[in-house]
Symmetry: C2
Subunit: 307 residues, 2 copies
């Protein structure tokens, strides 16, 4: 299952990571805790129509912060009704199969390691780039959780101590510099009056309608400003990933998420840059690969928690 | 054993991490590989005077990059004669006790975890701040090495993508911003003509003689410029450590090394700052502790590799 601020998605995933019979339920962020739980239970019952299917487990990607050991949702900004909500226990009460809970990037990292781009690897650095940047760190084949389950928050690694302030309190987190949201924001800022850019045309003349996707499309079509913005963001990503290489020396870097496509044309360049930005003499051997799972990463991730 | 660019130190370490009977041999950086090995073997024979003592192992902190699995020194900038030198094998040939090799920060991190400030912890972030900044990452009680043994190079995590260039290729690594060397360098830069600072007096009027220690002494005595420089460096360390908390969520942060004393008056402030610079809701529970081992961290570290 994949629980977001606006929807709950569930699916059946087999031992090869293939997803079948997906369902969706709306999730109302400001409903009650019980209504939120009902959406979850309803989605589960719809993928298990006879109520008695034999499954290996029920794995849930839920909004953090959460405690993966106890299955308690702590204080999710996008789902305030679930403050200190024992989601794992509430679902477990209805089903005999084991219930596992983790945050979306951790779970997606595990799915890529079990079945996706990082299959067979022991140490994996996974980043999902979308409206924000989330990361999951797989060490020795398992999600690295740290002391309280709050490890692996690589999107909040700062590379600019004089940069714009992030909601986490740090200046210059990579999330605020290179996510899809950040790219669109930078494009808006650079559109001073009279600037001629394809982005404006693609956005119907409305700067406020800029998205990461629009910047990407304009760059593909050769728009100079869009290319400049993406190149700068790519340079920042390269430095950030080089930090990760010097810390984790991973077997592979996997990049997914809705805005990953923006950077995919740069993967070769990113790889080359990283090998010149680390003390690791074998950094050039670490591949950067696109994720196998896209919009369904949460469902695959949930399943990977039980695999 | 602790092998540096200018000396080899060896000692006997007991099961509680207590060090006895230390010896030192000079190490000539541009001598031959065999002469370097002779200095090592001579130091070992001097701590084992009867040649047949019963020890649990011979643990060696050696200059990196090295391969901790094979005991091969790869390409050490401070000991060029040991390029691709099979140090582990060369020592093992003479002794029956197991020989283990790792880099100094990794080994010192392990010694702190076995016997020092982080005793009993599972996940430890250790930093040694001296002329450079080295780090060791202990996960589940063991040194985290990554794919090729090059993990844990936290001194080369950048927090300033527009910062000064480090030898690793990155701009703005914490090593180039907040090490003892960096602090002295910054003090030199800020001493424009006519600046009145106690640092100048402590350095005998010679700006080139500035050291981290001099900056620290001047700050202790209330010198405004020295205090400003240390406060800025402390802010950068706080951001860098917050990055580490969001990645590793460790049980404890341990800080050692020759320049750690510079920062020790700020540990309380550092701890408070970090708890406001992360997404980790329980970051305030992570203590920042001074290391147990000082100049003898390499000897203790070597021993910890065998414990």
């Amino acid at each position: 299952m994949d629980i977001g601020g606006t929807k709950v998605a569930a699916g059946l995933v087999d031992a090869n990571g293939e997803i079948s019979s997906q369902v969706r339920e709306p999730m109302i962020a400001n409903s009650s805790a019980q209504e939120g739980l009902n959406a979850v239970l309803s989605a589960i019952s719809r993928v298990f129509p006879d109520g008695a299917m034999s499954v290996g487990g029920i794995g849930i990607c839920a909004p953090g912060p959460l405690d993966p050991k106890t299955g308690v949702i702590l204080n999710p900004p996008n789902l305030p009704c679930w403050r200190n909500f024992p989601l794992g226990e509430s679902v477990q009460r209805r089903y005999s199969a084991p219930v596992k809970i983790d945050n979306d990037a951790n779970a997606a990292a595990l799915a890529e390691t079990r079945w996706g781009a990082a299959r067979g690897c022991r140490n994996v650095f996974y980043a999902t780039i979308g409206t924000g940047i989330g990361t999951g760190i797989i060490l020795d084949g398992k999600i690295y959780h740290g002391r309280t389950g709050s490890a692996g928050e690589g999107g909040h690694v700062s590379i600019d101590y004089q940069g714009p302030l992030c909601r986490c309190g740090k200046p210059g987190c990579i999330e605020i510099l290179a996510s899809g949201t950040a790219i669109a924001q930078r494009a808006r800022q650079e559109m001073v009056i009279g600037t001629n850019s394809l982005m404006l045309e693609l956005a119907g003349g409305d700067v406020d309608a800029f998205t990461g996707e629009i910047v990407g499309k304009a760059a593909d079509a050769g728009d100079a400003l869009a290319k400049k913005i993406l190149t700068e963001a790519m340079e920042m990503l390269a430095l950030w990933l080089s930090n990760m290489v010097d810390l984790f020396d991973p077997d592979v870097i996997v990049i997914g998420g809705g805005a990953a496509a923006l950077y995919q044309p740069f993967f070769g360049k990113l790889h080359e840059k990283i090998s010149h930005l680390t003390v690791n003499p074998r950094a050039h051997e670490i591949p950067i690969l696109p994720a196998r799972y896209g919009a369904d990463a949460g469902i695959a991730g949930g399943a990977a928690l039980c695999a």
